[in-house]
């Protein structure tokens, strides 16, 4: 059992738990929907249950683990283990001592970190970023999150670094879910893309996006629905993906001009689904704004897929 660690990726729709050995191999995993009621305490109970299930699969007691790391949305304080303002989660506007609560439930040390930052570190240590010493992780999903590894180490700033989704790509531009204008996420985040699709559909633009959503019983435009629409050459879907790619290319180029990293790793729900398909237009859009366009960084799609967040969380005990 020596060297076994737990990792939990806490998302707005699902909780993913994994047991990972010191080489990064996943020995057990479990997934549960994030409870929509019960507040932070209810969510913590479900997290503990998912981790126990994964541990059982790995044949390990949770008390024998080196520790359990959690990748969390909101403001996750690595020092205190408190998570605040996790607005995607039920009744989690305030602060909740997540590490302490899980430690009691699991009988082992618990650390929390930012979900996107730990997923970036997982790609750095074990995934698409293994061969690089500096990289920017871009997680293209509901929103657009980011994480940084510089000189082989995570760069957290004062605790909130990596908000590449809120790099401005167009001053005075589209309204972002964050309330500001012109952020990359205002064009590229799934939530913002869906709002724009709905708006244009209501204004009379033809699209099958919402028909497909209903047909497949989805409550929202998932990455799978976008893919189906694109496969059917839906013009509105194509326009909005192109607009997202433009914004991603612009914002990533700005970040590269500032940091000059060796690599950019594109992950997240949309990133994993569309990263390969749109790699050419993405790197082309980036190229338009790269100051050293003859020396672009490597651009790679995240390699650890859906488990990257949980694996990265377990690495909070390997730093």
């Amino acid at each position: 059992m020596a060297g076994l660690r737990g990792g939990i990726d806490l998302g707005g729709t699902k909780i993913q738990a994994a047991i990972v050995d010191s080489a990064g191999k996943v020995l057990g995993e479990a997934r549960r929907p994030t409870p929509t009621g019960g507040g932070p305490r209810g969510v913590a109970e479900e997290m503990a249950a998912a981790l126990r299930e994964a541990a059982e699969q790995a044949g390990a007691e949770t008390t024998a683990l080196e520790g359990v790391g959690v990748g969390s949305p909101g403001d996750a304080d690595e020092k205190t283990g408190v998570v605040s303002s996790a607005r995607n989660l039920p009744d989690w506007e305030g602060s909740f001592p997540l590490a302490e609560t899980l430690k009691e439930a699991l009988g082992t040390e618990v650390r929390v970190g930012n979900d996107v930052q730990v997923a970036t570190e997982a790609e750095f240590h074990l995934g698409a970023g293994r061969e690089f010493q500096s990289l920017i992780g871009v997680f293209w999903g509901t929103g657009v999150g980011g994480g940084l590894v510089l000189g082989g180490k995570p760069w957290l700033g004062r605790g909130a670094a990596g908000e590449i989704g809120h790099v401005v790509v167009k001053r005075g531009g589209a309204k972002c879910p964050c309330g500001r204008r012109g952020c990359m996420e205002a064009y590229a985040g799934r939530l913002a893309m869906e709002a724009e699709a709905r708006h244009q559909h209501e204004e009379g633009h033809k699209t099958d996006l919402f028909k497909l959503m209903e047909k497949h019983g989805k409550p929202r435009l998932t990455s799978g629905i976008w893919e189906r629409a694109l496969d059917a050459n839906d013009h509105l879907a194509e326009d909005l993906i192109h607009r997202a790619i433009e914004a991603l290319g612009t914002g990533i180029a700005s970040a590269v001009n500032l940091l000059d990293p060796e690599a950019v790793i594109v992950g997240g729900g949309l990133g994993i689904r569309f990263g390969d398909r749109y790699m050419e237009p993405l790197t082309k859009e980036m190229g338009k704004h790269l100051f050293l366009d003859e020396k672009p960084p490597a651009v790679r799609v995240a390699a650890l897929g859906d488990l990257g967040g949980a694996i990265g969380a377990s690495l909070l005990f390997a730093r």
Copy 2:
């Protein structure tokens, strides 16, 4: 003489040399215009002459110095001492072994670094950034350059980090001197501001900017000419400075969202002249785009003034 270092700031219009002791105190200094002919070799000769003059003032032989650092424009390779593509300098499109040439002339070790990066490090060690461990230096002058100190150390990326002037603030926006569109520098760089002022003046907008330039015998709109126009409430000058401040605030906020540093230091010719005067509108513009607007970084005007570049260059022997 122990611990004395030389520093040379190589600019497009002037060469500034200084002799600095290990506490950062300037013991001698000299300034010469950058030769407009004679190519890289001619520039190097003038640099050596300026450094000798400063050393004489400090009562030191150049051979007794720990070394001489050079802050250079263009692509300054710290490892080889070669400077390439310094387009602001005469006939310096190619590569020139600047460190080697100066070493022969001065009889001491020579290191080269990026001019803006070394000025940022000078502010970090000895100037407005002394109390911080992470900061972004923004040098607002002919162009807009930047330097980074993260976790107490310079961050150079693959050698070209810090290009904050080419962070995009408006996709598809104004043409930048770099040839791309929408860069911060396209709105805030002195060169771009002058081109826009000239364009608007030719289109019939009233302004005294060019009258003032001629009256004071300047070949271009210097920061001093801008200041005189602003003091006289010249509307076009006010509009263009406001536009520059908007772009600076937006681009700096993007960089802060990505890096979450403790401080932003604003230097450069325009930055030193206008930093205090426009601190309030600048921080207000930043605030519009800061993801964590309740926790902004400190924003300070560079404290070492014109000598910051040469002092920073001398610190290449203190890293």
